[in-house]
């Protein structure tokens, strides 16, 4: 045989071995097992009596054991477009992290799924002092701190140095809330809670964050008179504080685990949790798996039947949608290009999910010609929101005439406040401002996010302003920048001559109260006052409304504030456009009531496992 043939032969053999090793099926489980073998012997004895003797003999034998199939846990198969940035309740800032934290941790209170009202969770009840400055929470003390071992799949309750089982106490909340005031964590949400809680802002803004004096930390207004009582002291009677109590930032966290592992305390195997699920696996950038926490008090399990959650990281929505078409995930976003086809084929397996983010065109109130409220009103009223949502957003949105959307405490009913689209009113306002049919109107700049979708809606706006105001598209100069650049270009400290006249931006709520809208975005004393509003009587009412303890009066005050901003004589600091709503593909075997606020409550989701498995051909 020639040398070449030998080489070919060897190569074929090697490839064959590799292929066989790859193709080989997993071998059946073989165990060495001691079995008792019973032998029945019939023997004849001398007395000619037939006797049956049972001989028991012990033999060792290799047997193949086919394990009894365990019922498959009810499994939610999901995907997210990113890895979890953080599982630390005081650090988390994004939806992916907040969903995971809702799964792994209980909070002080919770949001009702349907009404977004505050319902008990760890706190079973609460009292508010007459002056509205002190909140006392009465906590249950039967929620265990647990640690899950990913290798053995065992969940065990944590114990203290003396061997006593650890349960969630008020002290864990005190530690968590004080930790949330620590500027070194660098969490956006620290700045949301800090102005309310006594002493928190002082710590957050400490001169030397690396060496915060202990007395400053001790002065934070949160205390635990006993394990079951948590007291929070506020700087002012913030009526909206209760609506913030389900926030992850205020959650209890395990001090001993954090101190033992530092930033790594959230990794699988290290993390100590107190929620309905435990973290069984976290392969960064690939997958995380959650299992039901078997030690959770039964009354806190939730109404759902899901026992296991497997979430893969799928950055591309088109791939996620393909997985959904293949019944490999229960729910998926729908790529824009597929939306119309999907709605035709799978109308019954489509839900609409609002994220309560409202988008708008901001106006620089100090930059002519938008320093005239009539010009701002004209540009707002000349925009057909209904047509915009249908044509540009493909139906994924709700036209908005004012700022705060339904579901927010204090938000006026959707159609009762605000001018919205009114071309005649728009033309009149522009004429009154000295620009009839847009004659003599100066060139203005409109800055939008980069990307085709934003360009689509800016171009739609140009058409609208041409059609209803007579402003040539040349008058509106379009610029597009990345989101970061846009934030920088529209910041309050940017001089007028460098800032754009108009820009696109949106606001999603942190907590379900009007104060988070008009107070945190439009209030003139807000550091993020991009519109450069000057303070007036509306701002006085914003301050009064946030401290008003009578809910009915607050609702009425916020209605008036929205009217003063977006009504016919309103200041119109921006033109509200639409509430974002996403179409989501969801298989019929999943019942998933979506959370308006906070993380998704997977423990209240239900899967018809028989239908799910049938779809997978099992």
């Amino acid at each position: 045989m020639s040398r070449n043939k030998w080489i070919i032969l060897v190569l074929v053999l090697v490839l064959g071995v590799v292929a066989l090793s790859a193709c080989s099926q997993s071998t059946p489980e073989v165990v060495e097992k001691v079995v008792e073998k019973t032998v029945v012997v019939t023997q004849v004895v001398e007395k000619e009596v037939e006797k049956t003797v049972v001989v028991t003999e012990v033999v060792e034998k290799e047997v193949e054991v086919t394990p009894t199939p365990m019922p498959e846990p009810v499994t939610l198969r999901a995907y997210s477009t990113t890895d979890i940035p953080s599982l630390d309740p005081q650090v988390a800032e994004d939806v992916v992290s907040i969903n995971a934290i809702e799964t792994l941790f209980v909070h002080l209170t919770n949001y009702d799924l349907e009404t977004a009202e505050i319902v008990p969770e760890t706190a079973t009840s609460w009292d508010i002092s007459d002056d509205g400055l002190t909140y006392t929470f009465h906590l249950r003390t039967d929620i265990p701190w647990v640690k899950h071992n990913p290798v053995t799949a065992e969940t065990t309750q944590e114990v203290d140095e003396d061997g006593n089982p650890r349960f969630v106490t008020a002290n864990d909340f005190v530690y968590g809330i004080k930790r949330a005031c620590d500027p070194n964590l660098g969490s956006y949400y620290s700045s949301v809670i800090a102005p309310l809680i006594v002493g928190c802002n002082e710590v957050l803004n400490a001169e030397d964050p690396a060496n915060i004096p202990q007395e400053l930390i001790d002065a934070i207004g949160v205390e635990a008179p006993d394990d079951a009582t948590l007291v929070v002291h506020l700087n002012f009677p913030a009526s909206y504080f209760m609506s913030m109590t389900p926030m992850w930032t205020l959650a209890a966290v395990p001090q001993w685990a954090i101190e033992a592992n530092g930033d790594k305390w959230i990794e699988a195997g290290n993390i100590v949790t107190d929620g309905r699920f435990v973290l069984n696996e976290w392969v960064h950038g690939v997958r995380r798996t959650f299992l039901r926490n078997p030690l959770m008090p039964k009354d806190m399990y939730g109404t759902g039947n899901i026992e296991k959650i497997v979430t893969n990281v799928v950055p591309d929505t088109s791939t996620g949608y393909a997985l959904w078409l293949n019944n490999e995930v229960e729910t998926s976003g729908i790529p824009d290009a597929e939306l119309q086809g999907h709605l035709e084929k799978f109308k019954d397996e489509t839900i609409q999910v609002p994220d309560l983010a409202v988008f708008y065109f901001g106006f620089r109130e100090t930059k002519p010609p938008f320093d005239d409220p009539r010009v701002r009103r004209a540009f707002s009223a000349a925009f057909d929101r209904e047509k915009f949502v249908q044509e540009v957003r493909q139906g994924q949105g709700l036209p908005m005439k004012h700022f705060a959307p339904p579901g927010i405490f204090g938000a006026p009913p959707i159609d009762e406040v605000g001018v919205g689209f009114d071309p005649e009113f728009a033309q009149q306002q522009l004429a009154d401002a000295g620009y009839p049919n847009c004659e003599g109107f100066p060139t203005v700049t409109l800055l939008g996010y980069s990307g085709q979708s934003t360009l689509n809606w800016i171009e739609f706006a140009q058409q609208q302003w041409q059609e209803h105001l007579g402003c040539s598209p040349d008058v509106i100069q379009i610029e597009q920048q990345s989101f970061r650049e846009l934030l920088g270009a529209t910041a309050a400290d940017v001089p007028d001559e460098e800032a754009p006249h108009m820009w696109t931006l949106g606001w999603g709520p942190d907590y379900p109260d009007e104060n988070n809208w008009v107070g945190d975005v439009l209030w003139c004393d807000n550091p993020g006052n991009r519109m450069k509003r000057t303070c007036n009587e509306i701002d006085d009412m914003i301050v009064k409304a946030r401290e008003e303890t009578d809910p009915d009066k607050r609702i009425e005050m916020y209605r008036q504030i929205e009217e003063d901003f977006f009504g016919k004589d309103g200041e119109m600091p921006f033109a509200p456009l639409y509430l974002r709503i996403a179409f989501v593909a969801q298989h019929s075997w999943l019942t998933a009531p979506r959370a308006l606020f906070g993380g998704e409550q997977f423990y209240n989701w239900t899967i018809d496992q028989a239908a799910q498995m049938a779809a997978q051909g099992k």
Binding site: P85, N184, G186, V283, V313, T319, L323, N326, E485, G528
Partner: protein, 323 residues
């Protein structure tokens, strides 16, 4: 040759240094920073300042760069500023093996398809074999990964349901730090992404091989070989083929450096946790340390790839000597 390799490696150090310095400067010149915004909201100024101070971003750029070099000297690629339970070393050790596995399989596939296709096309010039190979090659080059990937997913994953739609079939811990366990699951998951990535490369290689071989076949020494009465097979395999592969070898260096350090599009489409995805994420989120480190790895790979090409040259063309 050894002296040549050592010399080349030493010369490469300032090149790599310059690339890292340039990247470091450019990255920091991008508008915004890692703490300028939180999702769709602006980060409060106070928080931004504190966090920038924590990671030394408040220092002058040359001090930041010096600190970064000191970290590199200790084998530390730096911290992750947003995903703080991870370090850049963690990210690289998790994702680079996936890119190496995907890239090397794709390059292997590209050569297995591309070189023979180019040879057959050249040997059967202007025949249906040539036209078919050229057509397929043009098609392969023309169809972008961003089109081919979803198309393959649709056909083989969704319609025929014979191959997995997404994910890599192997996970850490890796064998020897970067090799997968060669399970059935690994191979089935590798088919679509490897084919997607390898197709365009194989098309380029086929076209290059064809053109190069045609040129070599018309050269004087081939005519001499034929005139000596050598068999056509011997002329092709022993004399023409090796020389015709020199241009192919030239693209091998950058090709290897490119695909072994991550291919964003394929990793994105097939949900693979490779290094290419990290490139984009690091730019989007202004993860300065991650982006600088990935660029460093890429530039080192490029240097090594080109060195590898030089060594291949010497093997392909005995006239080339480096010492």
């Amino acid at each position: 040759m050894t002296r040549y390799i050592i010399r080349r490696l030493l010369v490469s150090i300032p090149v790599v240094f310059a690339i890292v310095l340039f990247t470091f400067a450019v990255v920091h010149a991008l508008p915004g920073g890692p703490f300028s915004n939180v999702g769709e909201k602006a980060m409060p100024e106070q928080m931004r300042v504190i966090m920038e101070r924590r990671f030394g971003l408040d220092q002058p750029l040359y001090i930041q760069f010096w600190n970064y070099l000191k970290m590199l000297a200790h084998g530390d690629l730096g911290p992750m500023m947003r995903m703080r339970s991870q370090t850049v070393n963690d990210i690289v050790s998790q994702t680079w093996p996936v890119s190496i596995q995907l890239g090397s399989l794709a390059v292997f596939l590209a050569f297995v398809i591309g070189v023979p296709a180019g040879i057959f096309a050249a040997l059967r010039r202007n025949s249906w074999v040539d036209y078919t190979a050229t057509f397929v090659a043009v098609l392969g080059v023309s169809i972008n990964n961003i089109v081919l990937g979803p198309l393959l997913i649709l056909i083989f994953g969704v319609w025929l349901k014979i191959l997995p739609i997404a994910f890599w079939g192997a996970e850490p811990p890796w064998i020897l730090g970067f090799l997968p366990k060669p399970t059935w699951q690994f191979w089935t998951h590798a088919v679509l992404p490897v084919f997607t990535l390898g197709t365009a490369m194989s098309a380029s290689i086929a076209r290059l091989t064809r053109a190069s071989l045609l040129e070599v076949l018309m050269s004087d020494y081939i005519r001499t070989a034929r005139a000596k009465g050598l068999k056509e097979r011997t002329v092709i395999i022993r004399h023409a083929l090796k020389n015709s592969l020199i241009p192919v070898a030239t693209i091998l260096g950058p090709l290897l450096a490119g695909v072994l350090t991550g291919t964003f599009v394929v990793e994105q489409i097939f949900a693979l946790n490779g290094m290419g995805r990290q490139f984009l994420m690091s730019i989007e989120q202004r993860e300065y340390f991650l982006l600088s480190s990935l660029t460093l790895i890429f530039s080192v790979m490029l240097v090594l790839g080109n060195l590898f090409v030089d060594i291949i040259y010497a093997w392909l063309d005995p006239r080339i000597r480096y010492d």
